[in-house]
Amino acid sequence: MISKVYTILVDRFGEDALLYFDDTLNPYIQVNPEQIQMLCIFMRYNPALKFSFFFSLCGVDYPEKNQITMVYHLFSMKQKKMCVLKTSVSRKNPELESIESVWKAAGWFERELYDLLGVNFTNHSNMKRLLLPDDWVGHPLRKDYEEPSFYHDMETSRNRIS
């Protein structure tokens, strides 16, 4: 299944950039973060692959490994196949190339990730907060996020602070 996709990708990008893991429930391909945009363009337009549908983009915070992992779910309408890509960026200064130019829908997910995890996507057309208010401090889905006791004069805990 996904190993076929992997062989096609290895032919184009070489062995070093891609790692294939099938010991998990959902096999995935670990990608070098510098190559993510090129890889996505290739997967989108290669006639053998044609991953035309962008499922979802989510991020996982690993404080112990000091990295944030992006998980891309792609689906090919032609092959009826799903493919999972993973790429990791450093937690200190997370920066990744945007794939909004490949799939327009990815732009929304990237804004959400920026909102909640603080990953900065370069070349994105509108890198602003999506869900939270614009003046929110911090990125709440990071594991070390600490909730402030007030937001705009509204108490953030049920216990009254006197």
Binding site: P133, D153, M154, E155, R158
Partner: protein, 174 residues
């Protein structure tokens, strides 16, 4: 209209007049048409055939200027809370707030979330809390009947426009 005419030294007439006025006010509670989350579905159902809220003269008004009662139906996030305060200020006096469902009462299921306000009473004064997740239409009806009771106890002619749980007292009591 159970007349409780309190005969004191000078305000016998005022008391009965208050009763009539309060009866008129309680007979047409117009609520603001807005829902913040899934409790709004129950709110719609309350206007439906089984518990017909229109029987006691309650209809929805879509603009806050004409509404008497604000039913906060559902989870209130911080982003939404600012809008709710704005809507509350836009409503004309006398105004009442009914907090519907656990989320609006105290944060409920989402109490540990970073983005959810822990109870709408943190930002606006609430008259009646209706528990439930979501409350049944009968429960909401009961809440509105409670609002009617509050209305009947008020002395409208003496001090209309001033209420005990005004928003200022909420902020400055500490």
């Amino acid at each position: 209209m159970k007349g409780n005419i309190i005969i004191t030294d000078n305000n016998c007439f005022v008391s009965t007049m208050d009763d009539v006025i309060n009866w008129m006010r309680k007979s047409s509670i117009w609520y603001l048409l807005f829902g913040t989350a899934c409790c709004a579905i129950e709110l719609m159902q309350t206007g439906g055939p089984r518990t017909d809220i229109d029987r006691i003269g309650s209809v929805f008004r879509s603009t806050p200027r004409q509404a008497d009662l604000m039913i906060v139906a559902g989870t209130v996030t911080y982003k939404m809370a600012e809008r709710i305060v704005l809507l509350y200020h836009q409503m004309a006096e006398p105004k009442y707030v009914l907090s519907m469902g656990s989320c609006a009462n105290c944060g409920g299921l989402f109490q540990n979330s970073y983005s959810v306000l822990k109870g709408v009473d943190k930002v606006i004064p609430v008259d009646v809390y209706v528990p439930g997740c979501p409350p049944r239409p009968e429960a909401l009806m009961e809440g509105i009947l409670k609002i009617q009771k509050i209305m009947m106890k008020e002395k409208f002619l003496k001090n209309h426009g001033e209420r005990k749980n005004d928003i200022k007292s909420l902020y400055y009591s500490g």
